[in-house]
């Protein structure tokens, strides 16, 4: 229905602006209806401007800036109707340490609404978790799971974690 879509779109638009500014610590971002006269058919465009930079085509953004903008968009839609479980597979891969911190801080802010399963190779992302699950493959081709609890310093002394990486 038209009203439901318009309400959803407006809410997503507001979320995107706020989540983007939160993840980028500034800057500007909007979602726009390409054809405002025709909201039920119109495509949705994304416009993004990191802090201090000129407004340019999204293509000119860096790999990490695009990834963080996409994460902002994902979270904006998610916040409309937070799913009980959210699974993220290596979305931190192109991010530098500072941006990984901003991403994990935001996941921690949303943890009261949803449970997060985050697949990662990054130590900082691992540190943000309550629990770690190591998947190993000692016998060729055969996956096995080992629970590795996060206990501060022990995290990096753990033999399992040494084997993980």
């Amino acid at each position: 229905t038209k009203d439901l879509f318009i309400d959803t779109f407006n809410a997503a638009q507001k979320n995107f602006h706020e989540v983007f500014r939160h993840l980028f610590r500034g800057g500007n971002a909007k979602l726009t209806l390409i054809d405002e006269e025709n909201p039920l058919e119109s495509g949705i465009d994304v416009i993004v401007q990191p802090p201090g930079k000129n407004l340019q085509s999204i293509n000119l953004l860096s790999g990490g800036e695009k990834a963080l903008s996409a994460i902002a968009l994902l979270f904006s839609i998610y916040l409309l109707k937070p799913s009980p479980v959210c699974v993220l597979d290596e979305i931190d891969a192109p991010l530098d340490d500072v941006n990984i911190g901003r991403f994990t801080d935001m996941v921690k802010e949303m943890v009261n609404r949803s449970q997060f399963l985050v697949i990662t190779h990054n130590k900082r992302t691992m540190e943000s978790a309550n629990n770690l699950y190591g998947v190993t493959m000692e016998e060729p081709g055969v996956s096995k799971v080992v629970a590795v609890r996060v206990t501060g310093e022990a995290l990096y002394d753990g033999e399992v974690l040494a084997d993980m990486n």
Partner: protein, 165 residues
Amino acid sequence: MYLKRIEICGFKSFVDSTILELTPGIASIIGPNGCGKSNVLDAVRWVLGEQNPRVLRADKMADLIWAGSSTRKATSFAEATLIFADCDKVLSMDFHEIAITRRLYRTGESEYLINKAVCRLKDIESLFMDTGLGPHAYSIMEQGKIDQLLQMKPEQRRFIFEEAA
């Protein structure tokens, strides 16, 4: 509501019966390349009703069944179970805990169960309606796919919004 346990057996690289015991909060899944982390995400998506093998990186559904290795023979079926807890007010069925199982045989036969009672795929889909969970909800972000949110055509992006509405 949260995902309390994932059980995988014969699905992709998890030839042996494997259990992940989860809690609310942030769980991080770690391990070397190719050890099976993304396969866990695929199992979750599959149980929630994914019908397109390509989304699970397979050419056909039968490819999801343990294919054998240098030390083990292929198996005849794949099975995975998701157990959700605290789902009294969230799901459309009146249980405190709910177990959803999907099984696929090499013959092509499929089985779906809710709390060990055989049901249809439709029942599983309607169970999760409106929760934001499901194979095509925005709550599962697969490896390498987050860029698409920004790169997709405005018309395609619209579908995502319609789903969230």
